[in-house]
Structure formats: C-alpha cells, structure tokens
Symmetry: C2
C-alpha cells in the first residue's frame, strides 16, 4: 500500500460537515468559521510506548489519539468541529489502519467532528492530531481565571486510568472496566460546553489532578486545598484502600476529567447545568491565598503523593 | 530540562499577533478569524532520516518543518496566520532546541506567523506542524480547477534540492547553494497570494513536478504535456548535462516551487502579477484532453523519468 492508497483509504471514510468547504485531498483544507465564534486549536501527539502501552489495540489507539485532543477543547468549553491527523507508521498495514480508523472515526462521529486533512509518513508509530473547536467570545474556559475563595470541582471519577496502568506495569490481573478507562477516555465535551461562561477556570486532568490544578493555580495566582476524602472514585476503584487509591486519584494521569473552579454562589447552578448533560461533578476543595496545591487527608493532615503527575524528560 | 521547562523556553520566544486571543499555555489557543475569510489548514510531519538527512543542522530542521507547511498554504493562495508545533525528541537538549527555534521562528517572523500551541513529547526525532492561513472565499487555489488548454507554469527553478540529495546520497562534493535549497526551502507565499483568484489550479512541488502536476490533472480530469527544454534551472544546476538534470527537475522532490495552471488569456497578467512580487515564473506546457502527464524532449520525443517522485511506503 502506497502513501496515496493510504490517504485514499482514510479519505473514503472521513466524515464531513456543512462548514467544510474543502476536505482531504488538496494542499490544505478550507473551513468556514461562523461569525461570532472564536477558533480554539489544540495539537497533541501520542507516541507508542510513551502515551499508550505497546499492546494497545489499534482501535483504542485511534480513539485515544482523538480523545486526548477533544479533551483539550472540552477544557476550553469549545464545541469541536474539525480535526487533522498526522500518522507515522513503521509500515502501512491495511488491517491496522482500518481498526485505527474504527476507533478514531467512532469518536469523531459522536461529536460531529470532520477529519479534513493531515499526512501519513514512514517512521516510529506516532499519531499527531490537531483539533479545532468553536467558542463564543469571552466564554472560553481559561486556566487563569480562578479567584481566591472559588470552589474546586472535578467531573466524573478519578484514578481508574492510573490504576489500570499500575496493574499493567506490575503484570497484575486487570479489571476490564479499568483498562477501558485507560484505553478509551471520554472527553467531557458536553460538560465543558455547559461550564463555558460559568466556571472561572478549567483544565483537563491529563498529568494528574494535583499537577493540573497546579497549572490553574499558577496561571491564576492563587493556591488551592484539596480534600482527599472528597475525591470521587468509581465502584471499581472504591474497592482499594485509601492509601492505595489516593496516589492514583490525586497524582495519576490519563483520566481526562475536567477540573474547574467557580465562585460558591454558582454552586447550585453548576450542579443543575452538569446534571442536564448527565455529568457527575464533585466539589473537592477551595482556592485560597498563596501558591501551590495542598492535599489534606480526612484527619486534616497534609499529604504528598509519591510522585506528582507524569513529566516527559523528567529525571 | 522537564517538559514544562521546554514549553516555557518555546513560549518565551514565540511571537504573537493581534488576532491571537490566547496563545501558548492553556489547553487550546484562541484565535479570531476575521469576517469574510475562510480558514486554510494544513498539517505535515517531518521525521529524521525520512524527510531530512540525519546531519541536517537543527536550525535548518526548524526552518524546513515550517517551510513545507507554509508551502501548502502558498499552494492554496492563503495568507499564513498561526501555527502549532508538536516536537518529539529523544532527549531535551537546550542547545538543540534554541537552534531549532532560531530556524523555525526566523521563517515564522518573515511571514508574521504566530506560534500559538502544540506539545513536546519524548520519542524519535519528529516535528509535526499545523499551519493556519486565511483566504478570500472563492479565491483559494484548488487542485481541481484546471481546464483543457490551460497553460502550465512553475515558479522559480526546479531540481536543486534533488541534486543536493543525490550528491549527499552518493557522498559526492556538494555545492553549498544546492544544499541550501534542500535545507531551507522558500515557501512561495507572495506568489500564491498573487495567483489567488487568477490561476485555475495550483500545487506545491514537494514530491516532484510530474507527480505533483499529476495530482492536479487527476483532480481536474485533464491530461498535461510538459516540455523538458522549458524547465527552469538555477545557474548551479544548468552546469549539469540535460540527461542528468531532467530527472532532478521533473521527478525530484523538495523544491517547494508552485506549479499552477491558468488560461492562456491570463498569460500577461500572470507575468505582471508575479513580477510585482519578485517571483520568476516559466510556462512549461499545456493541459490537454485525456489523463496523465507527458514529458517531451526538445526533439519531440516522449520521456519517462527513472523514478516518479517520492512515495512513502512504496516498494
């Protein structure tokens, strides 16, 4: 299969939308941004062995490559519209490509995202995606808007993906539901849209709650306190003792939940807005004067995770 | 150097523009597309050893990674505006990064392109870039607009990059000017802008003239005839005999000139428009009924190159 056959194979399956003037097949895609909207753009690359385990099925790789990018749009409160895909492959294997596209395009269809361009190259397995979303001016959820005294929230549950990765690395038996959270994260698009113009700051939990909330705090010039006892856990994770769970929930990455801040006066409105889009959310702490994120046990003791999030190039 | 230090290093040097609402440092960039413009988006990844020789200096890698992407915008007639950068590196080396940014940002500054986001990851050396440009509705230079009887044109000169690559591969002595054409291609932005709304079809010469013109022909449903004797050569390349030169000029990639078609009635207007932006252009053939691109020697004989362009995954 040549590069052109590969592109033809992708093109035949890529969806479209009314605002795509020209999709795959020219030097660039042509897109019509509606009046009264700003463009939100994010780009993330996944490399085999770094961002997903080597045994990840191709459909899950396709899903996750788009999911982590859509999660960035969710964290901005943007409505996804278009994406481009840059695929580096050691060899062109049509079975692999078809399975990869199954996962990638299933998630794209769920959020009406059109795949409009990109390229394919020979190289180590690597998937680069750029996503484009639309957001009302002034409504985007930035990292730098948190105020002292805001409540700190998180959607869904935390720690499943880290628990799965931990079991994989230890060669331990692995709950299928946990592995699903690692392989097929659900970007919180609807929650992000509901929070746009309502939350004061937002980020998606990709590196770990404390690390990611730390980015919000440093961008906003505030500190934060997080109550470990309030961290939401799935039923799968709740079986583990707190001392085992907390590091996964507070410092494990790859959950792709939204962590956001909002004034306490908006507490009830936030609960209502997220309930309308079927998204659970939990208030887990408060912002405060100072710097840094401080985790507190139910006994009121300070707590530090064994490791803060995942840092490329660290150590 | 951690991933965050690396991003901070890039952020400190990235330029901005008035239409960048939010640049590097959040989950996504926020951009303001002006009313009455369509968005042109292209994404291309360069892998070490595939898209550039292993000994390419980091500043040239940075330049080329952006240049090949801007060349796609040039081929659409779009005005570049913003880019994102996804950098996979075996290790974070600040000297390498600084030199890479020297090249990347020098070209970005030349075309007023703001670097607004992206990511850095650990992995084999690979540079993914997505570029965004703006174009007037209906004026974009597509591949599918060529009509039978159009003239076929090319900007600048052809074959220098292929000659350089050929010398490198043979371990032969290499003219510095030729190597410069391989390492630091000049995207034909001004020419693309001048041709927008005037040429009937356009593509940039990245895989080789005959292959790329072939894409225009198949998209437009026409054939084409190219006169080898008309192919423009640099003074460096003109020293080589025709039989050596033609394969580089007709089938060598990496020139990043524009190949375009236009009705003969616009011949003089095209010459004038390109002269105004200091771009040489040569009429090298005609489109005709049928399919495929036919190269003809000055004696009127059909000619086939030893190899048609560069195809990933081929063979």
């Amino acid at each position: 299969m040549s590069e052109f056959d590969l592109i033809a194979r992708i093109r035949a399956r890529a969806g479209t939308r009314g605002d795509v003037v020209l999709g795959i097949g020219d030097d660039a895609a042509l897109l019509q941004v509606p009046a009264g909207r700003q463009l939100a753009v994010s780009m993330d690359t996944l490399n085999a062995g770094v961002h997903f385990p080597g045994d990840t099925p191709p459909a899950a790789i396709g899903w996750k490559a788009l999911a982590v990018n859509l999660s960035d749009l969710a964290a901005m409160g943007a409505q996804p519209a278009w994406c481009t895909l840059s695929l580096s492959l050691p060899q062109a294997d049509d079975g692999w490509i078809d399975a990869f596209l199954d996962g990638f395009l299933a998630l794209a269809a769920r959020h009406d995202v059109a795949l409009v361009g990109g390229d394919t190259t020979r190289g180590a397995l690597s998937i680069g995606v750029t996503v484009h979303g639309l957001v009302e001016p002034g409504h985007a959820l930035r990292r730098d808007g948190a105020q002292v005294g805001d409540e700190v929230w998180v959607t869904g549950t935390l720690g499943d993906a880290a628990a799965a990765l931990s079991a994989l690395q230890a060669g331990a038996a692995l709950d299928r539901g946990l592995r699903e959270r690692l392989d097929r994260p659900i970007p919180r698009i609807e929650a992000g849209r509901a929070l746009a113009g309502m939350a004061s700051a937002c980020i998606d939990v990709s590196d770990g709650l404390l690390a990611d909330l730390g980015h919000v705090c440093s961008a906003s010039g505030v500190g934060a306190e997080v109550e470990l006892g309030q961290l939401p856990a799935s039923r799968m994770l709740a079986r583990f003792p707190a001392a085992t769970r907390w590091p996964w929930q507070a410092a494990g990455g790859d959950d792709y939940e939204l962590c956001f801040t909002a004034p306490p006066a908006r507490h009830d409105a936030i609960v209502r807005a997220l309930r309308e889009c079927d998204t659970a959310a939990t208030c887990i702490g408060r912002t405060r004067e100072g710097t840094g994120v401080h985790a507190i046990t139910p006994d009121g003791d300070p707590w530090t995770p064994p490791r803060r999030g995942y840092a490329h190039f660290a150590g």
